[in-house]
Amino acid sequence: MSIFPAKGVWWNEPVEKSEVLWVSIAFLWAMIMFFMMPYWHFAGEQNLSNEAYKISPDAFVEKTENFAAKYTVREDAATGIPVVAPPAGSDVYIFGRTFEWWPMLELEQDKSYRFHISSADYMHGFSLLPENINLQIIPDYEMVLTITPTSSGEFSIVCNEFCGIGHHNMVGKIFVK
């Protein structure tokens, strides 16, 4: 019994068939699950590049402001945050800052953009809805990945990492045409 000491040569006793079978099946399943991850890097369309750079928040904010200055098309009426429409295929900069995502973006469907995402202060969660794409944004790190919007409409970036008492007010926008 499991609450009493194990006596005799328990390490040498035969193992029952169904137990052996289960261990083998479970191991096989673990191998399949392992295989799926590298497989998706070749066959799937949703992989993170894992490209990242160290950068100071100030430097990143400056890069983003230069980017916005070039391509701003209008201002959001409610917040005054610029809406930026970069050319298809170009580099796109966006950062989180308590409690906003800056700037807003206007993109074209089925075109790819090289996103650079970082934070100006605390950690934030980049949750692109309703797609449900979620990224961890860490200050001092510039995350780079290529995003291809495959649907159109208005999308929100909701912050889903706690970043302070106003955290729930932190929403950004991406418009896809």
């Binding site: 019994m1 499991s2 609450i3 009493f4 000491p5 194990a6 005799g8 040498n12 035969p14 193992v15 029952e16 068939k17 169904s18 137990e19 289960w22 479970a26 399943w29 673990a30 392992f34 799926m36 991850m37 590298p38 998706w40 369309e45 949703q46 992989n47 993170l48 590049s49 894992n50 950690m123 969660g125 949750s127 809805l129 309703p130 797609e131 794409i133 979620n134 961890q136 944004i137 860490i138 200050p139 001092d140 790190y141 990945l145 290529t146 995003i147 291809t148 919007p149 495959t150 929100s156 889903n160 990492e161 706690f162 302070g164 008492i165 955290h167 729930h168 007010n169 932190m170 929403v171």
Partner: protein
């Protein structure tokens, strides 16, 4: 010299110091479950959109307190009780260094109080993960560090007792499987606490602002913090599974199908699970895919394999024992004739099933490199871990309490009628809450978020009505689950304070372990006993797992291209 008493129910020789330490740790644990559970209820009532109880600042404060009081304080105090129980009592030994045990207890208690005060003061609302550069007051970290040092002392007492028992030959053969499981937990705990020290001490110095450390890197913090945060969950899994085996033995006289396999499965936790912290960092910048895949597969899956083995061998051991008693009809007579009205059994059975289906499957899926993209930091995450640490670990601890408390205190339970229902209320209530949280998560509802209606926000996001419905149902279920938790707490505290003294039962109907014939206690290849019912259940589990796994790949394939 140590003094002993003999347990009238089990015949175990009980060191009086161990007895006292177990009682104090267990009672303290239950008190913190009450406190932490109340915070959880407040949080749940706030996230229920129609109720939206607390203000934003109080909500985040309550959430910080909830995470700390249940995940850290309740669980670890209870684990200390388990460590002393599985060493001194199960080995019929005196407890090593009882004074150190008491010092550990006091440090843990003082630490827990300090951190709670820090949180309630309002300037340490940083969640229990306390990600930098959000900053708490120095005593927030100090409390956690003291608590951890106390727990480390508890582990030292445990190892010391194992040593003494071996040296003084208080037992013959190898330590019991349950003690082996507890040892697994204690070994992982040492690693966990060391990792915690590496990250929390510098963070405390940073928050003291005395010029020693002026910056803590966010990514480094997350990597090291999860080295602790993830490993600590392995302590819980090991401890909870030790409870499963213990209950199977106590209620059914069940022997493990194979000592060898079960012990190897525990070893896999030590070898692999604690390395698997990268599944918390799958969408972080700056870590390579190779590392993420290696870490989540090699490390994680081999440990998952360990859990899948226990998932078969625990019910399998019960099936074998029941069949030996003659419940041999068909595939499931052994299960149908199990004591479903006994909370020790029903709590454990629900814990096995709910942990596997709700916590286990979803955890592995979330821990898949690419699948994490569609779940990270959504309500799916708290949904998952209420499947592991609440309806798994907490429920298992409740189940074993129904046996430990009346036995150690030698008292009758005050509310035996309610106790019958309690595991179902708590398990099914919190299980449903976990499912609805996960449902909300698949619709993108963020975790740790005060208002998904964005009423105060200049711009907002409109969630589908189904998301509000899910959050509402999660709220209702959480209320049911909280009621279950409350009944447990009242029953335990009531029994300890006002329970009638047990009259030593003349040859009770249920065989207690000491009365089990010794032939059955020494394990003798029960392995040759087939367990077809359990195997069928395991295949049902695997089928669910496989289907749900691939459903999630299909969801992923539908989202925007990322490369």
């Amino acid at each position: 010299m140590a003094n002993f008493r003999t347990c009238p129910d089990t015949g175990f020789k009980i060191d009086l110091q161990a007895d006292k330490l177990i009682k104090w740790n267990a009672v303290t644990a239950v008190v913190f479950l009450l406190v932490g559970g109340l915070f959880g209820l407040l949080v749940a009532l706030t996230r229920w959109p129609a109720v939206h109880l607390l203000d934003a600042d109080l909500f985040y404060l309550a959430l910080t307190a909830h995470g700390l009081d249940v995940l850290l304080v309740w669980i670890i105090f209870f684990e200390m009780a388990l460590l002393y129980f599985t060493s001194a009592i199960l080995l019929n030994s005196r407890l090593a260094m009882p004074k150190v045990g008491w010092l550990g207890y006091v440090l843990m208690l003082v630490g827990a109080l300090i951190t709670n005060v820090a949180v309630l003061q309002g300037n340490s609302t940083v969640m229990f993960t306390s990600y930098v550069p959000l900053q708490a007051e120095p005593h927030f970290y100090l409390g956690i560090i003291l608590f951890a040092v106390g727990a480390l002392l508890g582990c030292a007492v445990f190892f010391g007792t194992l040593y003494i028992a071996k040296k003084e030959r208080t037992y013959e053969g190898s330590i019991p499987l349950v003690t082996f499981g507890a040892m697994t937990a204690a070994i992982i705990a040492v690693f966990t606490i060391a990792t915690g020290a590496v990250i929390l001490i510098p963070t405390m110095l940073w928050s003291m602002d005395i010029g020693l450390i002026d910056r803590v890197d966010g990514l480094v913090y997350r990597i090291v913090w999860w080295g602790m945060g993830h490993s600590s969950q392995q302590i819980n899994v090991a401890a909870q599974i030790a409870c499963w085996y213990a209950i199977a033995a106590i209620l059914f006289g069940a022997k493990p199908l194979s000592e060898k396999v079960s012990r190897t499965a525990f070893l896999m936790y030590i070898l692999f699970l604690q390395l698997a912290s990268a599944h918390h960092l799958l969408v972080d910048p700056g870590l390579s895919s190779e590392y993420k895949i290696f870490n989540t597969s090699y490390a994680l899956y081999l440990a998952v394999l360990g859990s899948m083995i226990h998932g078969l061998t625990v019910p399998g051991a019960i099936e074998a024992a029941q069949r030996k008693k003659g419940f041999n009809n068909g595939l499931f007579e052994w299960l149908a004739k199990a004591p479903w009205g006994n909370p020790v059994f029903s709590g454990m059975a629900l814990s096995v099933v709910l942990f596997g289906f709700l916590g286990g499957i979803t955890g592995v899926i979330m821990g898949t490199e690419q699948l994490n993209i569609i779940m990270h930091n959504t309500m799916y995450v708290p949904g998952h871990f209420h499947g592991t640490v609440v309806v798994g670990t907490t429920l298992a601890f409740m189940a074993i309490s129904y046996w430990i408390v009346p036995t150690l205190w030698q008292k009758e339970m005050v509310m035996p009628g309610l106790a019958k229902w309690q595991p179902y209320l708590f398990g099914l209530g919190m299980g449903a809450a976990a499912i609805f949280m996960m449902g909300a998560g698949t619709l993108g509802v963020p975790r740790r978020h005060w208002d998904i209606a964005f009423a105060d926000s200049a711009i907002g996001h409109v969630f589908p009505e189904a998301a509000n419905l899910m959050m509402g149902l999660a709220g209702v279920s959480a209320v049911v689950g909280s009621l279950g938790a409350l009944i447990f707490i009242l029953n335990m505290v009531g029994t300890i304070l006002w329970g009638k003294a047990k009259v030593p039962a003349p040859a009770s109907a249920e065989p207690t372990p000491a009365e089990t014939p010794s032939a059955a206690t020494s394990y003798g290849g029960a392995g040759t006993m087939a367990v077809p019912g359990t195997f069928v259940l395991a295949m049902v589990f695997l089928t669910t797992f496989v289907l749900y796994y691939f459903v999630n790949w299909k969801y992923l394939a539908g989202v925007w291209g990322l490369s």
